[in-house]
């Protein structure tokens, strides 16, 4: 039995949704009704039936903003939803430290950076800085983790060089700017550079994170793992320990 649901407004199964958008049409005065009709038409085509255009706001002569409420007929089949499930146990800092000590018998080295022209260090700082994120301390807080945070606008060759010099076990890269797909281009460039610079079995674990990545694209981008919006330091630390401790034990 597949599990089917519909959007919920105030009654089970009412299918109510709310959307807003702008159309490049004049919504002023005489033109208001035509603009509203245009919005209703779009909403209908998107599957809202009936569609209720509840707000129309002209923005100058060329654009009009709409808020639309309506019922959708679509069903959501929860069985068909695929997500990247967390395939490693969450560890507390104490457990993570103990696991690293046991498996590697040395500190685990992480090199982090924002690469390319990206100057937004918020993400990498949230994961690495001792201050952390969402009430969790960053990786700097982990006694058995050595953190080298290179900060913003690091070039790929600089990153590879530093990773080699530090004998990095893992490289963490944060990418926020997505204009012209910069985050994808930079990530591909980075993973290619590491593949070129290291033999396959010696390459550090490559992890990227940022608000606009798709978790399932890791293979496509040539990295080991992608973390998305809302990832906490504990999750990253646990993942690193899971992958590297297993590798250390096997070696």
């Amino acid at each position: 039995m597949s599990e089917l649901v519909r959007p919920y407004g105030d009654t089970t199964g009412d299918g109510m949704v709310q959307i807003s958008f702008t159309l490049p049409v004049d919504g002023r005065g005489e033109s208001a009704r035509r603009a509203e009709g245009a919005a209703a038409q779009l909403a209908n085509k998107m599957g809202l039936d009936p569609a209720l255009v509840v707000h129309t706001r002209p923005m100058g002569p060329d654009f009009t903003f709409f808020v639309v409420y309506g019922r959708v007929q679509h069903l959501v089949n929860l069985d068909e939803v695929t997500v990247v499930e967390r395939d490693y146990p969450l560890l507390s800092p104490k457990e993570a430290n103990a696991a690293i000590k046991r498996a590697l018998r040395r500190r685990l080295t992480v090199v982090g950076a924002c690469i390319g022209t990206d100057a937004h260090t918020v993400g990498i700082d949230a994961i690495l800085n001792i201050k952390g994120f969402a009430g969790e301390k960053g990786l700097e807080y982990y006694r058995e983790v050595k953190v080298v945070n290179l900060g913003a606008q690091v070039s790929v060759p600089q990153l590879v060089e530093r990773a080699r010099a530090e004998k990095a076990d893992a490289v963490l890269v944060s990418q926020v700017v997505t204009q012209r797909d910069a985050h994808l281009l930079n990530t591909r460039e980075m993973s290619a550079a590491f593949r070129e610079a290291y033999p396959a079995d010696r390459r550090p674990l490559l992890v990227v994170g940022g608000p606009r990545f798709d978790e399932s694209m890791a293979g496509d981008l040539g990295v080991d793992r992608i973390f998305v919006r809302g990832t906490t330091p504990t999750e990253v630390a646990s993942y690193l320990v899971h992958r590297l401790a297993a590798k250390g034990a096997a070696a």
Binding site: M59, G60, F63, T121, D125, N129, A152, V177, P211
Partner: protein, 530 residues
């Protein structure tokens, strides 16, 4: 001066102590800055002398000429004497008819530069000064033109000025967006720069259409946008201001270009480049002083970057680092000749909304900045860090941000976007954001007249506490020296030693015969204000 003690009843002796500590902390930096020059200061001088354009590879002629001079004098001090003496000496020797021809010849390797002495040096100095003076006069004319246009079209109708950002990467896309924003009510348009630009050691040339998360700052882009906003000003009957960024490795040059093209405000922070771009501290302070002297002359309002500290450090714990930095920025700015009305000191609404009393804390911090710097047009920055993607909640947060702005008489209000951290603002985001500002200003714009925090109440005590903490910090900085404090990670948690960072190779101690006509003229100008 008979200023009332204000709503926070700050003790004047404490305020004086804070300023005097800032002066003590800053003075050794000024001394150091006066003793050094940088490649960008020298290139800015060449730009003021009228050298423009780039070679076929896009390298600006100012860079080519400077590098030739530096290479020829390599055994003889390099950059240490400044670019003026060897360059105008070469011109007087008849090596070329003008700077452009000289630069071209120099990059082909067919000029030898030398350090002139005696009468030759005197002649070179005079010629350099005459030519650079023309650029400074052009800046003066631009300033007078601004005053004239403001009289003709009228100024922004109210305070705070509404500050909106455009950032498409393409100047020809930016222009219609900027004009639409002005029509929608923006008093100030800021064109965000491409993220990589702060680390370029040259200023790109020409109109540009390729930038990441922003548009390159170039002289031609400045000119195009200013011309477009002049048209908007005429159409709207109010002068619309234009803002860009004098930061990064080319601060002095960009400041010069801004003055020449009549930009009205420039982002210019004393420590931002050091902390957030890992630019060498000495390079930054030298470049910053020159750029501020240019801004002072050009009648440009600077915007400082204290908001940035709060994006990496906690906005409650680090509140005093904002105050400390504002005091330092004020000292450096005034030392460089800027006046109070030109100090858009920055601060931001970045306290975690989950913190109890977060709004009261914001109010206390904003009021402290207002009362510490009563004559400065403070730059009030919206929440970014706690904008989660929940655009509805974000809209409310922006409303509260606007309310603090209204209650504390901020001078420049950067309009917060509910889609912060989601997308670059859509046209509807901007429209909704402006409705938010208008509603709050219309409903509560004069509330500051009625608003008086309880004497010795929560807000007053919090403000005093932040001021006291910033005095403690300044005290430690004075003991430790500012350069060491920066090296230790005092600001924004970043550690930046004075002998590391980008652009260090572009710094040189000045020799005994160092000469820079621009500095000479601007330095004399600054004396008038002090």
């Amino acid at each position: 001066m008979s200023r009332a003690r204000g709503k926070l009843d700050l003790d004047p002796a404490t305020v004086r102590q804070a300023r005097s500590l800032a002066r003590k902390a800053g003075r050794p930096i000024v001394t150091m800055a006066k003793r050094h020059t940088t490649v960008s200061v020298e290139r800015a001088t060449l730009r003021l002398a009228g050298l423009q354009g780039a070679d076929p590879d896009g390298t600006p002629w100012v860079n080519r000429l400077l590098e030739s001079v530096r290479a020829d004098l390599d055994q003889d001090g390099g950059l240490a004497h400044g670019v003026a003496l060897p360059v105008w000496d070469a011109l007087l020797r008849g090596e070329a008819d003008d700077l452009a021809a000289l630069a071209e010849k120099a990059s082909a390797g067919s000029v030898r530069f030398r350090l002139p002495e005696g009468k030759d040096a005197d002649r070179a100095r005079r010629a350099a000064r005459t030519q650079v003076q023309r650029g400074i006069r052009q800046i003066d004319r631009r300033r007078a033109e601004r005053d004239r246009l403001i009289r003709r079209y009228g100024d922004a109708p109210r305070k705070p000025w509404i500050y909106l950002i455009v950032a498409t990467g393409d100047i020809y896309e930016d222009i219609p967006q900027a004009r639409a924003a002005a029509r929608a009510g923006a008093d100030v348009i800021a064109v965000i720069r491409s993220t990589g630009q702060s680390l370029l050691d040259f200023v790109p040339e020409g109109a540009t259409r390729e930038g990441f998360a922003g548009t390159y700052a170039t002289q031609e882009n400045f000119r195009l946008m200013r011309a477009a906003l002049d048209e908007s000003s005429r159409e709207l009957g109010r002068y619309v201001r234009l803002t860009n960024y004098a930061s990064g490795l080319c601060m002095p040059e960009i400041a010069a270009l801004a003055g020449l093209e009549r930009l009205d405000m420039m982002l210019n922070d004393s420590m931002y480049g050091i902390l957030f771009r890992d630019i060498n501290p000495v390079r930054t302070f030298v470049d910053q002083r020159f750029s501020r002297q240019v801004h002072a002359r050009a009648g440009i309002i600077i915007n400082t970057g204290e908001d940035n500290y709060l994006t990496t450090a906690d906005a409650v714990e680090a509140a005093h680092t904002v105050t400390t930095s504002q005091l330092l920025n004020e000292y450096f700015a005034k030392e460089a000749g800027l006046e109070d009305w030109q100090l858009g000191l920055g601060h931001a609404f970045e306290i975690d909304p989950e913190v109890p009393d977060s709004f009261r804390l914001e109010l206390a911090h904003a009021l402290l900045a207002r009362e510490l710097f009563p004559d400065a047009p403070l730059k009030w920055m919206p929440p970014t860090r706690h904008m989660t993607g929940d655009v509805f909640r974000g809209y409310l947060l922006d409303g509260f941000f606007n309310l603090v702005g209204a209650l504390t008489g901020q001078g420049i209000l950067l309009v917060g976007m509910m889609t912060e951290a989601v997308v670059t603002p859509w046209i509807s985001d901007r429209d909704l954001a402006l409705q938010n500002v208008r509603y709050v200003m219309n409903a509560a714009g004069d509330l500051h007249r009625d608003f008086r925090p309880e004497p010795d109440g929560f807000i007053v005590q919090r403000a005093r506490q932040v001021l006291a903490e910033s005095i403690d910090l300044l005290d430690r900085i004075v003991d430790d020296t500012l350069l060491n404090a920066i090296a230790d990670g005092t600001f924004g948690l970043m550690k930046r030693p004075a002998d590391a960072g980008r652009g260090l190779e572009g710094v040189a101690p000045k020799s005994a015969v160092y000469y820079n006509p621009a500095s000479e003229i601007l330095e004399a100008d600054g004396m008038v204000h002090r």
